[in-house]
């Protein structure tokens, strides 16, 4: 086969691959796609809340310095924000998906608030309360993860 023929085959294969990829990304999500997305959102929120709780405990124990805690909270807050954004961006395609969304949405909202409370706590008492709340959120998110996996 000549060089030009090979080039056509390669180009056609590339276009087909790209078309398939584009279709996969742009088709409306079904129930299983939504389930997968919700799982990822729950996992992200769980990790962000757990990170916040861990940093808070380390702060209370005097194990971390200020700039590090600020950075870690900022990362966790961003992750939590992106999880909430993803949840609102994607509409649930069916009743089961809607029930999943309704279950996770309030926990995400509470966890985001508690993360903010921990990041801005000015004394140990407030920080401890925020960390306790975050640990409660982590347990709830972990329960959901186990149930949905």
């Amino acid at each position: 086969m000549r060089g030009r023929g090979r080039m056509w085959i390669a180009a056609t294969a590339l276009v087909l691959l790209w078309t398939g990829f584009a279709y996969d990304l742009s088709r409306p999500p079904d129930g299983s796609d939504y389930h997968r997305t919700v799982l990822q959102i729950t996992r992200t929120a769980h990790d962000a809340a757990a990170t916040g709780a861990l940093i808070g405990r380390q702060q209370l124990d005097g194990q971390v310095f200020g700039p590090f805690a600020v950075s870690a909270y900022r990362d966790a807050t961003r992750a939590m924000g992106s999880a909430r954004r993803r949840l609102t961006e994607q509409a649930p395609p069916d009743g089961t998906s809607m029930a999943q969304r309704d279950r996770i949405a309030p926990i995400l909202g509470a966890a985001a608030d508690h993360l903010g409370d921990a990041a801005s706590a000015r004394d140990d008492a407030r920080l401890r309360a925020a960390v306790d709340d975050l640990e409660h959120d982590v347990r709830q998110l972990a329960t959901l993860l186990r149930a949905w996996q």
């Binding site: 990829f21 799982l39 990822q40 996992r43 769980h46 990790d47 757990a50 990170t51 861990l54 940093i55 380390q58 005097g62 194990q63 971390v64 310095f65 200020g66 700039p67 590090f68 600020v70 950075s71 870690a72 900022r74 990362d75 992750a79 972990a142 993860l145 996996q149």
Partner: protein, 410 residues
Amino acid sequence: MKRVLSIALGILTAIGGFVDIGDIVANSEAGARFGVAHAWVLAVGVVGICSYAEMSGRVSAVSGRAVFDLVRERLGPRVALANLAGSLLVTVLTLGAELGGVGLALQLASSVDYLLWVPVVAVVLWVALWRVKFSMLENVFGLTGLVLIVFVVAFLRLRPDTGALWHQATDPGPPAGEDWGTYWFFAVALFASALTPYEVFFFSSGAVEEQWTAKDLRTARFNVFLGFPLGGLLAFAIMLSSATVFGPRQMSVDTLAQVAMPTALALGKLGLAAAILGFFAATFGAAMETGLSTGYTVAQYFGWDWGKLRRPRDAARFHTVLIIGIVVGVALLMTTIDPIQLTEYTLVFSAVALPLTYLPILVVANDRDYLGDRVNGRLANSVGSVYLIVVVAAAVAAIPLMLITRMGGG
């Protein structure tokens, strides 16, 4: 004295080359999600990089020329161009990731956003590569990078469940909640992080810069077989401490702050400071190596004068490429892509480009015109050939695994 300095090059390559942002991220992520179920991948990667670094060091020491220089001469401009394109793309991406890593380390120490640090880091890197002596850079970053040993100490202080870790290492596979696709995606990423192409080009070009000869072969082997396993040990300690802290909490790791947390938990502020200093040294050292490797590969392909030890006016094109590489790396980060994500993408593309780097090295290391009786022996060829198969398998699997697992997201 000369031998001691040569060993320092090995240690620098081990710390700045083996333990770079890719290793830090990949080992910590894998440790959190899979425990030490990928320990074997790390071992395979260490043996592979030792094998090919030894070959490229031998080629340079005996022939007095860098590997890339010989690849073009031996295999022709077309094959060398494919090699150049693959490794240059990956090296520039890696340079961007390393610059981001330095920015993140500085963010952890100062709380100032990493994007504000990146241009400053780029200028300091350029000045360092322009003005500071090679030996000075080696010593400062090689030795400072060794503080990453804090992860070994932290792991020992964390009172790990050694029985569970041993079980994970000896019976590898995905734990509950993870699947085989994600397991293999992380395996490919870890393997690629160990065999990043720039490591062999830097090692080989560094040998030419330091004017190694056949007499230095023993030193070169000492560097490779001590330096890279040392880097592997540090990388393994990061995986172990991550597995110990995050595994039981069923957390995954997505940020550099999380990677450092085990040291704070085990050793408090001092441990945390050491970890951040280690991140800084390892990523800055690797940024230095990737920056130089960008200039090395292009200059060697086109036959330009090159070298850190040459005055910039005597190797103007080499230094220009180096500056362009740094500017492209900064531009990548200024798109606001997360440096950790950039690192993950870099590892995938690095896996794809691996055969383009390692096949030519194997060919050149068997050429008697360059190496005389110092060509590969039976053992080196057997190991090299087996690794070539593994490298091709990783390259073929990398993109499909990335798509199927959505970058390991599951």
